[in-house]
């Protein structure tokens, strides 16, 4: 079973890590979480993004929600603001979400095949 002590230790580790880097996050990820997004799988997408960010130990990455973006037919939608650009990805399932973290957020390559425009 997971214990409260584990959580305390984890908090200390995370605090040490974030103390080293002050200021604004370098990468901002936005997940559309309106009813349409949630029905299309945005919860799995969000959790996959968080798991991959945690697993790769990435710092300076924020994840935030937005409501319906009016692109309901292309949900789940993920917006990545990184390396000076804004990219909108369509139909992002959990697997695509993990690749976006590895290839776009971490390595800086936009995955053109999944890009959509609004």
């Amino acid at each position: 079973m997971k214990t409260v002590d584990e959580l305390r230790k984890l908090r200390e580790e995370v605090r040490q890590m974030t103390r080293l880097r002050e200021g604004e996050p370098e990468v901002r990820i936005v997940v559309a979480m309106g009813t349409c997004g949630i029905a299309a799988g945005a919860r799995e997408t969000l959790n996959a993004l968080l798991q991959e960010i945690a697993a790769r130990g990435l710092a300076g990455v924020s994840v935030s929600p937005v409501g319906c973006m009016g692109l309901c037919d292309r949900e789940p939608i993920v917006e990545v603001n990184a390396h000076g650009g804004r990219t909108l990805y369509a139909r992002v399932n959990a697997e695509k979400a993990r690749r976006i973290v590895r290839e776009h957020v971490e390595a800086g390559w936009v995955i053109e095949d999944w890009v959509t425009r609004n």
Binding site: R11, E13, I38, E44, Q51, C68, G70
Partner: protein
């Protein structure tokens, strides 16, 4: 929605948009009464009577990106098609409470689904405190994000903490049993 837990996530989004700082989620499964009940209440700005009367209409929304608001009508329809019931009460300046119940054994009832995934998603992106209670035939799991916040402070929203919390909730959800 494929899971009742997804309806819950959707409703929490409404609570946040209504300016709530606290949300309470209570799920009760009772085999004896053949009922699964979900109660969500918040301390948001609430609604006046005219708005309250309109929210179960799919062609009503407070949003401007599209002209339909589907969250509440979807939950209402899901509950009612499972021999259940749906009520929404609200008072301006105080908050809103939604209660949806489902016949446990109804063939059309969606599974409860993963509350670990739903709560992890809420904690990761919303600055709202959640009091969660899940009771299955008398067995109870409770989680209060205020207590977690006391332990974790601002680090609560860090992906590594969220991943840990998700696993913690999943363990306890399995222990109370019931619908997954």
């Amino acid at each position: 929605m494929e899971e009742i837990a997804l309806h819950i996530l959707d409703l929490v989004q409404n609570c946040v948009e209504a300016g709530a700082s606290e949300v309470s989620i209570a799920i009760t499964e009772c085999r004896r009464d053949n009922l699964l009940t979900v109660k969500i209440s918040d301390n948001g700005r609430g609604m006046d009577q005219a708005t309250l009367a309109a929210v179960t209409d799919p062609f009503f929304t407070t949003r401007s990106t599209r002209k339909v608001g589907l969250g509440i009508p979807l939950l209402k329809a899901a509950a009612e098609q499972c021999n259940g019931s749906f009520t929404i009460e609200s008072s301006e300046g105080k908050g809103t409470q939604v209660v949806a119940s489902f016949a446990l054994d109804h063939i059309d009832r969606a599974p409860l689904g993963s509350m670990a995934d739903t709560l992890a998603a809420v904690f990761a992106v919303h600055h709202v405190d959640v009091h969660y209670r899940h009771e299955v035939d008398g067995k109870v799991f409770m989680l209060d994000s205020k207590e977690i916040r006391q332990l974790c402070g601002d680090e609560l929203m860090h992906p590594r903490v969220i991943v840990w919390l998700r696993a913690y909730i999943e363990e306890h959800e399995k222990q109370v049993g019931g619908e997954q």
